[in-house]
Symmetry: C2
Subunit: 138 residues, 2 copies
């Protein structure tokens, strides 16, 4: 089967101090803060700007033993991943696996806002960590 | 004055081979290719996926003497910048300058799709190169 994405759900930025970064993106750059959410499954706190597709998400680790914490230690703050909304995440993962995509998650896991999510390694996407997401919008 | 952004216009990914990357983002990840454009003012070729806000843009340098080419040489392919759509780019740049933001462009320059654009240095945005954009949608 062929994979069909609905488009960009969000772009995620890894930050060390969530409150300080929220203040910058809201008060200096003028984005509309929609929601702050703790995602225990991924040990991060997130701040979402905007609504619908194409949101901006700040992510801040709540534990040192996470991919986001290691990213910050190694590369500093900056763009972390893009997330694409798909119609059927299980079918998408099966199709990507058949094409040899380097899946980090072969089965979906719980993500922010009650969605199902799965990640594909940057080496398979021209250097971009890609999250696939299926679920309700926040 | 206070800066007001309409939200995320696009996220840009720097790539070395535009055709190969287009094939991946369209045929493997299933995004809808909307347009391929050459932007001589910035010495890049771009491929845009999706319509309206929250698009995904691939950018590929057409000259070695550009910021994108130097980024690719230093860091390899990957996420390059986010672009926020603003209502009045001149007023936004003036407000940011007054707040001490590290502007790369103090006055707007021509961007893709007939827009006016200006960049803010990553050191001022928690590690993220931010493009401001005012103009018609492609």
């Amino acid at each position: 089967m062929s994979v069909k994405s609905k488009g960009l759900d969000h772009v995620a930025i890894a930050v060390k101090d969530l409150e300080k970064a929220i203040s910058h993106y809201r008060d200096v750059l003028g984005l509309e803060l929609a929601e702050i959410e703790e995602v225990p499954e991924q040990q991060v706190r997130t701040a979402i700007f905007g609504h619908g597709m194409g949101r901006v998400e700040l992510i801040c680790p709540t534990s040192a033993d996470t991919g986001v914490a290691r990213f910050l230690e190694k590369r500093g703050e900056g763009m972390h991943h893009i997330c694409l909304e798909v119609e059927d995440i299980e079918a998408t993962l099966a199709a990507l696996k058949a094409k040899g995509a380097p899946l980090i998650d072969e089965t979906p896991k719980p993500g922010a806002g009650g969605a199902k999510v799965a990640f594909i390694h940057p080496k398979g996407n021209h250097g971009v960590l890609v999250e696939l997401r299926q679920g309700p919008k926040p």
